[in-house]
């Protein structure tokens, strides 16, 4: 886990966000809602079939919302790889599962947050803002 990474968003107007999920309905809804927030910038959505790391390197997001349960994708390994390849991107894992060991595994691999998909939209947006401020977030449902 990189401990020297420093948040470099001070020069930007809005934090760019990428969502990685296998469900287009989720990605589109998040994109629609994020676009309504002035301090966020929707950078794009990726799926399990994309060359995720390459695309992330192109998009260079500040924050990655990553679904844990995607077919064919080891989300925890992906968190670690993102941390290595994109040290400035902060990954928040996004899940329908509430296993405590997932939380610890996510944090151990470098994730900044672990949120439940049952969070309310406002809670979700607040959590993303806290991560951008440098906090680690864990939803009530998962901690």
């Amino acid at each position: 886990m990189a401990t020297t990474r420093k948040w470099t968003d001070a020069s930007r107007d809005a934090a760019s966000i990428v969502c990685i999920d296998d469900n287009p309905l989720v990605k589109e809804a998040i994109a629609r809602r994020i676009a309504m927030e002035k301090d966020f910038r929707w950078a794009g959505a990726l799926g399990e079939r994309d060359e995720i790391i390459e695309r992330l390197l192109e998009l260079s997001p500040d924050l990655v919302l990553l679904d844990i349960d995607m077919p064919g994708v080891d989300a925890f390994a992906l968190v670690k790889t993102i941390g290595e390849r994109l040290p400035n991107a902060r990954v928040v894992m996004f899940t329908g599962y509430s296993h405590p060991e997932y939380l610890e595994q996510a944090l151990a691999n470098g994730a900044w947050g672990y949120l439940s998909k049952s969070e309310s939209p406002q809670s979700l947006l607040d959590a993303l803002r806290r991560v951008i401020r440098g906090e680690v977030v864990c939803g009530d449902d998962v901690s």
């Binding site: 589109e28 809804a29 809602r33 309504m36 610890e104 151990a108 439940s116 998909k117 939209p121 440098g134």
Partner: protein
């Protein structure tokens, strides 16, 4: 007694002669009791002192005769004597001088014998001729009588011319001599008979002694057998069995006193059997209906009849009694013999075996029941696992779909829309909220019976837990409903996470609260108790609501079963309770009937620590985390929380009452601070993350090389707990 000399001088010579003669004869006859030897010796005394010929013939009247003596000393008459001895001795049939005396029993004195006398008493011419040759001049034939019976005749003859003829005085002397002879013969015969009798008696005595010895030997053998056999031997000598003798074993069996003469329960002579009651097949047996009594009186044999002797002190003895009648010469019973085997040990073994068999049957029954129950529970768990897997998948998918719906709805709500769109959106939001709860509930049903719940190593101290959550629970019930709790202080720690337990109990309390709305004196009580085997704790949540009917009670834990209106219930509350509790290895049950309220019983396993350890309270542990990196800090905090710590963050709580301080090299706090922290309490431990070695040497300051190594961190925490646990407070939380 012989005459004295003066007496002899006063007697006449003839009388002296007779006396001398008779004295000599008496002496001779008394020499021996064998008259066949003494009578022939009388011949040389009588001849020549008293006569010339002398004969003695013995016999009975009308019977055969035996000539035991014919004596004379004249050589001229040897042939005649031989003929008279051999040919013409009296035979009891033919004529003979002796026969007349034998017939009459009277003495016959023939002073002068003439031809006619001889002719009358000779058997034939030759006999007469022999008599003529001898020329007998005078004769005395004297009867020999003993006890009034003729036993023979003493005959004496004078043949010599120079001897005077017999006269009356000679007859007297002759009769005296005959008396002596008869007496000697009688005595001899008596003696002989007596000797024979004595001999016979002696023989009989010897035989009898042999028989007695043999009998004594048999009796001794029998006595030895009686005392040796491991059975009581009984003998009754009368049909009424008034006296029964027994061997030592019989006395032992019946506990008869050593001097008891009889073992008869109905005997009056020293019977000591009144101290016990005899039972057969559980019934008291009459004294005349016992085997010995039946055999002795009725002649009925009995084989191995089981009797139970119940003594006054309450002890029991079991006997197997056999009895056989003894019969008299007419075949009538005159007594009985019996044998009694002590089968108490056998009966005890039988009883023990029976008891053990019953115990085994009960055990088999119980184990079978438990096996069936376990099997049913396993099947139920499998079913629930299947349902849980399906539900979790469904809940997950529902959650995935609900997220975009809620996001879209939230987007719409931020817009200004014309009526009635806002109210429609509000209705949609209500439905979404319901669906969201449903999805959460469905996800909670995921229980895998083959995969231990991760929370199994998480422990909850019930009393502390209730202190933390009772306000939350109280807020979950409607106003007017009293929530009471009775949680004993010394309960073992439970093997379930506090969060899971809170969710389960919250669901039940909420259900109870709903059922109790608008009811007077409504109350919900939470109480806990340790089950007898101390391996589980029962947490019982009771309400005094309307209760449940059988249908509701039977199905209340099944998913989607609800007695509430569908719009406010997902029907998953109690199903989730069951999923949580069974997931922790416990069981759920409900006791309820209409109008009687309901009691939900959560049986939860205690911690796997030893019962003694479990009965001790978990110390309240607090940890301060000052790791600089927020993700590492969150990770450490998560691990600590799941290890039972309450976690604090920040730099200003070091001096507080924390037991554990987790920091790292990036933390601005110094080694002095660490030493000060651990030095303030013997149970305090400090961990420094991301360093290979601690900057200061202290046994309770430890290094954790990699903060992201969750297992490594957890291992260190386990070692801290193993070395740092101590008995803590057990405060009352009521």
């Amino acid at each position: 007694m012989p005459l004295t000399a003066s007496e002899m001088s006063r007697l006449s010579p003839r009388l002296l002669f007779f006396c001398d003669f008779l004295q000599r004869a008496g002496t001779l006859l008394s020499n021996s009791l064998d008259y066949h030897r003494t009578l022939p010796e009388l011949g040389p005394l009588v001849v020549p002192m008293f006569a010339d010929w002398c004969a003695i013939d013995l016999g009975t009247k009308g019977g055969p005769m035996e000539r035991v003596l014919l004596y004379q000393e004249d050589a001229r008459h040897e042939d005649a004597a031989l003929a008279l001895r051999a040919e013409f001795a009296p035979d009891g049939v033919n004529a003979h001088p002796v026969m007349r005396v034998m017939d009459t029993g009277h003495s016959e004195l023939v002073r002068e014998i003439d031809e006619q006398w001889m002719a009358d008493r000779s058997r034939n011419e030759r006999h007469l001729s022999i008599l003529r040759d001898v020329v007998p001049r005078s004769a005395m034939l004297l009867p020999l009588m003993a006890d009034g019976q003729m036993i023979g005749v003493l005959s004496m003859f004078v043949t010599q011319v120079d001897r005077p003829l017999f006269d009356e005085s000679d007859l007297h002397v002759g009769e005296l001599l005959a008396s002596l002879v008869a007496c000697a013969i009688r005595n001899a015969r008596y003696t002989t008979e007596l000797q024979a009798e004595l001999h016979e008696r002696r023989v009989l005595e010897l035989r009898l002694q042999d028989v007695i010895k043999a009998q004594d030997s048999r009796v001794e053998e029998l006595r030895t057998v009686m005392e040796t056999v491991p059975a009581g031997v009984l003998i009754a000598s009368d049909p009424e069995c008034t006296r029964i003798i027994g061997n030592a074993e019989a006395h032992r069996q019946w506990r008869a006193e050593g001097n008891a003469k009889s073992l008869s329960p109905i005997g009056a002579d020293g019977s000591r059997l009144s101290h016990c009651v005899i039972r057969r097949n559980g019934q008291i047996v009459a004294a005349d209906d016992l085997p010995m009594q039946r055999a002795a009186k009725l002649g009925i044999a009995t084989r191995d009849e089981e009797q139970e002797l119940v003594f006054d002190d309450g002890s029991h003895r079991w006997l197997a009694v056999s009895a056989t009648p003894l019969l008299d010469a007419e075949g009538k019973p005159r007594g009985a013999v019996g044998a009694a085997l002590d089968i108490t040990r056998t009966k005890q073994i039988e009883a023990d075996l029976l008891e053990r068999q019953e115990e085994l049957e009960d055990e088999v029954h119980e184990r079978t029941r438990a096996m069936i129950e376990t099997h049913q529970r396993l099947r139920e768990m499998e079913r629930m696992a299947t349902i849980g897997t399906l539900s979790a998948g469904l809940g997950h998918d529902m959650g995935n779909l609900l997220l975009p719906l809620r996001l879209r709805l939230d987007s719409l709500n931020s817009m200004t829309l014309p009526d009635p769109a806002p109210s429609d959106l509000a209705a949609i939001a209500t439905v979404l909220e319901y669906l969201q709860r449903l999805a959460s509930g469905l996800r909670s049903l995921a229980v895998d019976p083959h995969k231990p719940d991760r929370s199994s190593h998480v422990e909850t101290k019930l009393r502390t837990w209730w202190a933390d959550v009772h306000n939350l629970m109280r807020n979950a019930v409607p106003p007017g409903v009293t929530l009471g709790a009775k949680i004993p202080a010394r309960l073992p720690v439970l093997r379930i996470s506090s969060a899971a337990l809170t969710q389960a109990v919250m669901n039940i309390v909420q259900n109870g609260g709903h059922a109790l709305r608008n009811r007077p004196d409504a109350r919900i009580d939470v109480r806990a108790e340790l089950v007898p085997n101390k391996s589980e704790v029962r947490l019982i949540i009771s309400d005094n609501g309307p209760g449940m009917d059988e249908q509701a009670r039977k199905h209340c834990f099944e998913p989607f079963f609800s007695t509430k209106k569908r719009q406010i219930s997902t029907g998953l509350g109690l199903a989730v309770v069951r999923a949580i509790i069974t997931g922790a290895g416990g069981q759920v049950a409900v006791e309820s009937s209409p109008g009687e309220g309901a009691s939900f019983i959560l049986t939860i396993p205690v911690s796997r620590r030893t019962p003694e350890e479990s009965l001790q309270s978990i110390p309240s542990r607090r940890a301060l985390v000052t790791v600089v990196d927020p993700r590492q800090r969150a990770l450490v905090a998560s691990v600590l929380k799941h290890d039972g710590y309450s976690v604090k963050h920040g730099e200003h709580d070091v001096e507080g009452s924390c037991d554990l301080w987790v920091t790292d090299a990036a933390s601005p706090r110094s080694s002095t601070d660490l030493l000060s922290f651990v030095g303030a309490g013997s149970g305090r431990v400090a961990l420094i993350m991301n360093v290979a070695a601690t900057p200061v040497s202290h046994p309770r300051i430890r290094a954790v090389p990699t903060a992201s190594d969750v297992n490594g961190l957890r291992a260190v925490l386990n070692s801290v707990r193993a070395g740092g646990d101590s008995n803590g407070d057990d405060a009352q939380v009521d």
